[in-house]
């Protein structure tokens, strides 16, 4: 079998295939759509990050530091909304997933390319509407839009919620596309249990996107109707029930947490196996745990309302189910650690992100136990403990995995290698900065510091100062990481087809791939049979070992 070993940067590839801005804006190529998503999502991340730094600067002192209370309230709302709706939820599936999924399947595109482009433009429309709300009077409700605050506040809630509603449709269409692609474009020889674990993660994600997002849609529609027409479904003054909004909202937003983490877990499965140069340990347990998480995630939303006044029995059930969902996550973590056993661990930049993930997600997951247990949740909920917990899972989990995946697939996307030493420095600073920022928040949260506080009691000041310093270390780490990637675009070495020695199909085409993805149709095998790949000095990357020499060493 002829497997391309080289770089197509100067030949025909998806980037050079057609020229001009129209060829990008109207493209139906999943790779180009993925790249457009990537650029847009990274811009949103930058925006959300700037909001975060402003928040941390304001919290440097217990009283006013740089902005007034209303501005602060808008800042944390915008930080949350931008990071969640514009960055984390679409981050891995829409940007990396779009690029990688058809390649991993050995397919030419996703099932519905036009729908894919529509998803992208819906994302743009939603993002623009959300940004319009900043100009037209900002939103100060928190990203959760709890009623009746959100129906009475004097800010542009409608524009923001309409934006989120449209973003929801973007998310639904992406999920729909992925499910159909995995069902119908999978080559006959790639059985379900020969599928890369990243695809299992995306499949589980897509199920949640499809089944949960419409409920968010109707919730936001009712909120808009409430504000615009005074429908009153959630308005206690008109006989409505404000807590019903919370049930609706979390019926989406808790599964949404798994929309964020499942694809991240998929990325980590790829990274750990590739950079341990070893077959993933416990493939079936990891694959099935993705589906188990997707299913159970629908039944735990009530754990956001342990102090909202639901019945004790409901709280008990939600608490137990919450603990159940911890198990498949724990299984994955153990299996990843076991994958490194007796392997050949290579500490390349993506692997550093994967190790960071194990460390940070470990803390994030374990602190979730404090919040799943009813008695301790009563004390900890709505404090900085929760803030730290979900940053450890969403940022330490999803965002770190996203950047790991970005550094992993970067050579495939751009055809360029980046400077390892600087990239590692970036990863290191991100890790240190992140822990500095959020470990302090666990402690002040447990002591009772409530979240979303503009002024705070002086006794919490030392923790806030540490946290703010950490945020700036984190920012420096990201500046370095961004610099490394930008530098590689202009001065990076051309990337080989398979720089890491991974066995999934996307590495069996040139970097960057041609317009039709593959010159010759690849033959799917075991996606983690990395022993068949050996380093070839001439190619600068890994090539298929001559048959008979499987597992051979160089």
């Amino acid at each position: 079998m002829a497997v391309p070993v080289g770089n197509a940067l100067f030949g025909d590839n998806y980037l050079s295939h057609a020229k001009g801005w129209k060829s990008w804006l109207f493209t139906l190529d999943h790779k180009r759509i993925g790249v457009m998503y990537l650029v847009s999502i990274l811009a949103s991340f930058l925006l959300g990050g700037v909001f975060a730094l402003l928040i941390r600067m304001e919290l440097w002192t217990p009283q006013r530091t740089i902005m007034d209370a209303n501005t602060y309230n808008q800042m944390f709302t915008l930080h949350g909304a931008a990071m969640i709706f514009l960055f984390i939820i679409p981050g891995i599936p829409a940007a990396l997933g779009n690029f990688v999924l058809p390649l991993m399947l050995g397919a030419k595109d996703v099932a519905f390319p036009r729908l894919n482009l529509l998803s992208y433009y819906l994302w743009v429309a939603g993002a623009v509407l959300a940004l319009v709300s900043i100009v037209t009077g900002a939103v100060d409700t928190g990203w959760t839009f709890y009623t009746p605050y959100s129906t009475t506040t004097n800010t542009s809630v409608i524009s923001m919620t309409l934006g989120a509603f449209i973003l929801g449709f973007s998310s639904i269409f992406t999920g729909l596309n992925f499910i159909v692609s995995i069902h119908k474009l999978r080559p006959p020889t790639m059985t379900w249990f020969k599928m890369p674990l990243f695809l299992w993660g995306l499949y589980g994600t897509a199920i949640i996107q499809i089944l949960a997002t419409p409920v968010l849609g109707i919730t936001l529609l009712l909120l808009i109707a409430e504000r615009a027409l005074g429908v009153g479904i959630f308005d206690p003054a008109l006989g409505g029930d404000p807590v019903l909004f919370q049930h609706f909202f979390w019926f989406y937003s808790h599964p949404a947490v798994y929309i964020m983490i499942l694809p991240a877990m998929g990325v980590i499965s790829e990274l750990v196996s590739t950079f341990s140069h070893r077959h993933i340990f416990g493939y079936r347990f990891i694959a099935m745990s993705s589906i188990a998480i997707a299913v159970i995630s629908f039944l735990v939303w009530g754990h956001h309302m342990f102090v909202s006044g639901q019945s004790n029995l409901a709280s008990l059930i939600f608490s137990i189910l919450t603990f159940l969902v911890a198990i498949p996550s724990a299984v994955k973590v153990f299996n990843w650690v076991a994958t490194m056993y007796k392997g050949e661990v290579e500490l390349a930049t993506p692997m550093l992100y994967a190790l960071s993930f194990l460390f940070l997600f470990g803390i994030g997951g374990l602190t979730g136990l404090f919040l799943g247990a009813l008695a301790t949740d009563v004390h900890l909920t709505d404090t900085y403990f929760v803030v730290a917990h979900f940053h450890y899972t969403m940022f330490g989990g999803t965002a770190i995995a996203f950047f790991g995946g970005l550094f992993y697939w970067w050579p495939k996307i751009t055809g360029r290698m980046y400077r390892e030493a600087w990239a590692k420095l970036g990863a290191f600073l991100i890790f240190i900065g992140f822990n500095t920022t959020f470990l302090a928040q666990f402690i002040m949260g447990a002591q009772g510091m409530p979240r979303r506080y503009y002024n705070y009691l002086p006794e919490f000041a030392p923790y806030h100062k540490v946290s703010t310093i950490g945020a700036f270390i984190l920012a420096i780490g990201f500046v370095i990481a961004a610099g490394v990637l930008l530098h590689s675009l202009f001065a990076g070495e051309p990337a080989p087809a398979n720089p890491w020695g991974a066995a999934t199909l996307e590495w069996q085409t040139t970097s960057p791939p041609p317009h039709d993805n593959f010159e010759t149709q690849p033959i799917p095998g075991d996606p983690y049979d990395v022993d068949r790949w050996v380093f070839d000095r001439e190619a600068g990357g890994y090539v298929l070992a001559p048959s008979g020499a499987a597992g051979g060493r160089v």
Binding site: H17, S23, F26, K108, A111, F112, P214, G232, I233, F248
Partner: protein
């Protein structure tokens, strides 16, 4: 390297055969389309699912509101609309059959009949809405029953005793002078001594949101069917290629199905 822009290329493909370049064959494409449509329908059901949940919660907590207020809905018009929609489902199914048999003229006529049924449905809905508008029987804060005395239905049953609060739960405090809105039914009912339950507007909020969203779906379905009709007139569909008719039909049936649930839940309460 091909000079043709990528998006044009696909278009060219599409015109020649209906198989896009990334599908191995026509069968795979048809199956993908159907699977995609079914998944989309699932999301639609969940969209309405939220409203059905809201309905269930309020009906369970305030059954007296629903029993009282549903008498203001016109069962006859609702019933006619139900029949109209069921009939339109029938013409739609027949249209798909016609497409499969390459009966072009019949297909166009049946599609037109289905769209016509959609117009009849919307027309009747308009009459109902207009009546409610005049009576002031609107949602939430727009609820201002203008002629409540005149149009008060005759067969209103005496109000049932409300769900009583567990005596243990009852506060020993005297009721506040201005009780919190919403939960203060007992205090208010005792003072007003009337058969009209509190918060009737809740029913109309639910009614307008549910039928309104359904109405929007009917309109969307009609737009899709009209587009299919135009394509059918150009003779695009035959036994070899009828997927769009099929998928539009699935959507139309779903819209009908939702009404089949809405009608008894809103109009036929006991």
């Amino acid at each position: 390297m091909q000079p043709v822009a990528e998006f044009e290329e696909v278009k060219v493909h599409g015109a020649e055969s209906h198989v896009a370049h990334h599908f191995p064959d026509a069968k795979a494409q048809v199956e993908a389309g159907k699977l995609g449509m079914w998944i989309f329908l699932a999301t639609e059901i969940l969209l309405f699912g939220g409203l059905f949940c809201a309905y269930a919660v309020y009906r369970a907590n305030h059954p007296e509101i629903f029993v009282y207020a549903h008498h203001f809905l016109n069962k006859i018009l609702g019933g006619i609309n139900t029949v109209v929609l069921i009939f339109s489902s029938f013409t739609m199914a027949w249209a798909v059959r016609a497409a499969q048999l390459s009966q072009q003229k019949k297909l166009v006529r049946l599609l037109a009949a289905t769209i016509f049924c959609g117009f009849v449905f919307l027309g009747i809905k308009y009459v109902e809405y207009e009546h409610k508008w005049k009576e002031g029987l609107l949602w939430g804060k727009r609820y201002k029953p203008a002629h409540a005395e005149v149009s008060k239905p005759k067969d209103v049953p005496p109000p049932k005793p409300l769900i009583s609060v567990n005596p243990e739960e009852r506060s020993t405090l005297p009721p506040p002078a201005v009780p919190p809105q919403g939960l203060s039914w007992e205090v208010r009912a005792a003072s007003q001594e009337t058969v009209v339950p509190q918060n009737v507007q809740l029913f109309f909020s639910v009614y307008f949101v549910m039928t309104g969203l359904h109405g929007l779906h009917v309109v969307a379905g009609m737009v899709v069917l009209f587009w299919i009709l135009l394509r059918a007139r150009r003779g695009e569909f035959s036994s070899a290629y009828f997927t769009p008719v099929d998928l539009a039909g699935l959507y139309w049936h779903l819209v009908d199905l939702i009404w089949i649930y809405l009608f008894p839940l809103l109009y036929l309460i006991h």
